[in-house]
Amino acid sequence: MSLKTPSVKVCDLDLHFGDIKVLQKLNLEINHGEFLVLLGSSGCGKSTLLNCIAGLLDISAGQIFIGEKNVTWSEPSERGIGMVFQSYALYPQMTVEGNLSFGLKNAKMPKDEIKSRVKRASEILQIEALLSRKPGALSGGQRQRVAIGRALVRDVDVFLFDEPLSNLDAKLRVDLRVELKLLHQRLKNTMIYVTHDQIEAMTLADRIAIMKDGKIMQLGTPDEIYNRPQNLYVADFIGSPSMNFFKGQLKDTKFTFGALVLPMGSYSFKNKSKLSEAIIGIRPEHIITGELAKKATVTTNVKVKLVEPMGSDTLVYADLLGHQIRIRMEGNAKVKSGDILEIGIDPARASLFDSKTEQRI
């Protein structure tokens, strides 16, 4: 298989449920060995897209390729995919071994081959000791490992994950996230991963596709998504606490917001237009405080209204010209409400959006 052809390719995919258009003219190409995360709030169509790729939903129009094969009409089992579900979906009446070998038995694989594959998968996931147990006797993390194992034994090129960590408690989720990343580095399979958790998306992904209303809003590396969001939705969606937005006027390279004028000379414009109405987005962690604030391109004073200490950092809600501004400071910052805080803004790290089209300028 040549590496030039994408591992998974979705062409002009449409999916309707009656009159409801869930996916519209969706195009997506995923490279070999890439970890792609589909990110979006609930109802954005990300799980639906994954189910279409898996062949669990009949599509209304378009084509799907896996490897070089057109699998648009293929059964899920013929597509060369393995899938892991949020609720684990283990067969409750089979042992772990039975769960792992079920797909292979259905494919009428020789017994020796099944045995060696189950052995290999259980070694990779460290579940050898659990092989004779039933899913009911396993913990959540163990169950999800078995579910991953079930995809692993199939020895496929493409792994599909449908929010696999959402049912686990917070600590286990972080542990398994790391394991999953290590697994990907080791196996180098193509992985498509659906989640609504942006931390998972940022940490795991080679590329992230942010979806809304059945469309991909932006497809890019975590760095691009975070630092150069292509539209207002992506900018607002990624980052916690979310970006600060201020509406103002853009003239030449000056952004005016109330009494504040920001020279945007250092900002890399996507397309220079003569727009006047614009929205500026500034991440709370990109606002400079303390001694460095004085040296920033723009310096101003804000009145602190609320302080949320979070240990590793401190979140400050302040008032900037009648608008609320969120500022992330370091954990040991000594601020209390009522203080006047000097802040600095670096226009190069800000994002500008057209206030009509909500696209990046």
Partner: protein, 299 residues
């Protein structure tokens, strides 16, 4: 020391009074209602163990002075219905011959029906399901004569096979509803996982869903066994004397107008007829609970 003394400071489990007012009311009510419901059974069992002379003395509540099993033997093997004098035994075996195929046929068809309707939605499956369920609300009496014609045309009128067919058809709406709702409650992802694993329609049904659905099959079995065994109407209409089920034969014994009314034989015959559903309740009730416990897999 602290425990044996009446400690004044409340500590540990709260002491319970056995003869509290609420206990007396609850248990008193329960005992009275139990007696009320069990009394007829008591009368039946006692009467069935008495000889006719003792019955004529009255005292229907008193236990037999002289216990005899003769009425049970007579009811089973030589009570007369019309010209036949071979007791209920023939009816019992007829009922078994009706029950077993009806049970297997109706449950297997309805479970596959329910599975297809829940998991393999096709165009119009909801309409199909609605029509099927509508069948559960149509009084049986309306369909009696059309079915007579139907059975006559396909040559099954009066045969056991005909009655099996009738029971299968009439069991279909409620059983399909039961199975469909059960399969619909099983997480969809399990079904998807099996499809990714390459299992087809029957593979998923037999290997994944069936093993985890034993309790619902037991429920369906209880419903069908009691329903079919206790059926009188279809039995009397769609079969002939040689293939009458037990209930019809019981009626013929109890309602025969010739000779002496043998209350002891009638009571024994009735108890014999009721024994099968009763046994099913006792046996499968336990199985049912065990089945639920075994199938309880979280997540």
């Amino acid at each position: 020391m602290l425990n044996s003394n009446k400690s004044e400071v409340p500590s540990g489990p709260k002491p319970k009074k056995v003869f509290s007012r609420s206990n007396i009311i609850i248990y008193g009510t329960l005992i009275i209602i139990s007696i009320y419901y069990l009394l007829p059974l008591w009368v039946m069992i006692m009467t069935s163990l008495k000889g006719m002379p003792e019955i004529r003395m009255g005292n229907i509540f008193s236990p037999p002075l002289e216990v005899t099993f003769e009425p049970w033997v007579k009811a089973w093997s030589y009570a007369c219905t019309g010209i036949n004098c071979d007791g209920l035994s023939r009816g019992f075996w007829n009922s078994v011959k009706i029950l077993i195929p009806s049970l297997i046929l109706s449950i297997s068809v309805a479970s596959v029906n329910g599975y297809a309707l829940a998991n393999w939605k096709f165009k119009g499956s909801e309409v199909f399901f609605t029509i099927l369920i509508f069948g559960a609300f149509i009084p049986y009496q309306i369909m009696i004569y059309p079915i007579v014609i139907l059975l006559r045309e396909i040559g099954l009128m009066g045969s056991t096979a005909g009655l099996v067919l009738v029971h299968t058809i009439f069991g279909m709406p409620i059983l399909t509803l039961l199975f469909r709702n059960h399969f619909a409650a099983i997480p969809d992802e399990l079904f998807k996982a099996a499809r990714v694993d390459g299992a087809g329609f029957w593979g998923i049904y037999f290997k994944v869903l069936l093993p985890m659905s034993i309790p619902i099959f037991v429920v369906a079995m209880i419903l069908q066994v009691t329903g079919i065994w206790n059926d009188f109407l279809f039995g009397v209409i769609y079969t002939k004397p040689a293939t009458y089920p037990m209930t019809v034969q019981l009626n013929n014994i109890v309602n025969s107008v010739q000779g002496v009314k043998e209350y002891n034989v009638n009571m024994a015959a009735t108890l014999l007829t009721g024994l099968v559903p009763l046994a099913i309740y006792f046996v499968s009730g336990k199985l049912f609970v065990r089945g639920i416990a075994a199938g309880a897999v979280k997540g």
